[in-house]
């Protein structure tokens, strides 16, 4: 069982090596100069105004929360899908109920206008 994951470990090490290596390589090779203007955050040549890390739209949070809930619910579908053939009609009905509940949740969120970006 566990040996099946050994390749992944090996691959992870290699990929990590490549990723880190590339950054390190250019870090080592490239020259570095700093000027006052160069150090400014890029705002199309204008002097930056205000803090970049200001608050942003609540929409992003809302989307994140919806995702969290729906995605976890979706996870439930995976094991079900795998053994769907064995479950048959029973499985379909059970999951139908489940999806229905999910759908009602989606509909509610939709109806309340939470998916409206503007």
């Amino acid at each position: 069982m566990l040996i099946d994951y050994l390749p992944i470990l090996v691959y992870l090490v290699i990929a990590l090596g490549v990723a880190v290596g590339m950054v390190a390589l250019s870090e080592a090779l490239g020259k570095k100069t700093h000027t006052a203007v160069k150090d400014l955050p890029y705002e199309c040549g204008m002097i930056p105004s205000g803090d970049a890390r200001s608050r942003y739209s609540v929409k992003f949070f809302v989307i994140a929360m919806f995702f969290l809930v729906f995605d976890i619910e979706a996870i439930f579908l995976y094991p079900w899908a795998v053994i769907y053939r064995a479950l048959g009609l029973f499985g379909l009905i059970e999951m139908g109920i489940f999806i229905l509940v999910l759908a009602v949740g989606l509909a509610y969120v939709w109806g309340k206008g939470a998916l409206q970006w503007e």
Partner: protein
Amino acid sequence: MNLPLLVGVLVVKTLIVFVVFLTTIAYVVLMERKVLGFLQFRYGPNRVGPWGLLQPLADAIKLIFKEDFTPPSANKVLFVLAPMIVGLTAFLPLAAIPFADKILPDQITIYGQTLDLTVASLNRGVIADVNIGILYIFAVAGMAVYGAVIGGWASNNKYSLLGGLRLSAQMISYELALGLSIIGVLMLAGSLSLVKIVEAQKDMWFIVYQPLGFILFLTAAFAECARTPFDLIECENELVAGYQTEYSSMKWGLLMMGEYGHVVIASALTTTLYLGGWYGPYLPPVVWFLLKTFAVIFFFIWVRGTFPRFRFDQLMYLGWKVMLPLALVNILITGVAMLYF
């Protein structure tokens, strides 16, 4: 079992696959430029090498030697970390994607030692045939959003931040559709292992049974890769270059590799899930696999050359109000169909 030897073989095999993968990424960049040129009645890069074939190499050399600039106002650690995450998340899914049936015999003898290559699927055309392959891919690919958000936030640049946020919102929105759209495939295949899924398509590609799922998957994959028409995160006329704005040199190079890596992975995954993977007549499995993958990649580029970009609200609308319900419907349809046909 001879573990060191096993690992040795494993490393060699993995390295080969990985190098091929990296090369593919590099040439996808070139391919895109060429194809876009073709679509727009112009030449792509054609100076470096014959037909510009050495262009990727030249780009790499350029990137490596460019100044590696880290803005002083940025959060240093995170700023460096972000491209690595983006790169890694693009590389890692490859491990579970099968590109051929069997590429090595079951047993080989090296230095007089007999090695059983069925252990850890060494004989197969996949780096790791894990039984939860698809979950692995989603798990790893899902991390890409961290790279974007961290990079956007660490840059301390408004464009970057906004780009990062947009990307994260986009990715998580479409990840749902992506995840749900493949459930039809899982139902048909009855396994989470990608090898098993491909094997289930021996007689018929799943695209036939899952047309809706395929469309949803492909659309979501476009969004996940932040490709046109969903490339809002870096739409140059709004956000300069999104979360990549402050990046340069090889860090930027990694970001780019990540982006194209995602495209390659998405294409490979589409092939695996819907287009029968390595199966095909006459030609060797690997070739079939590459052919199909490149066809999908070509489709990616073709779309880029053809479609206009979505507005962000349209993007969200599509993701939540069209794709998500359709994906749920697809599951039900598949379920009913499997019961009665």
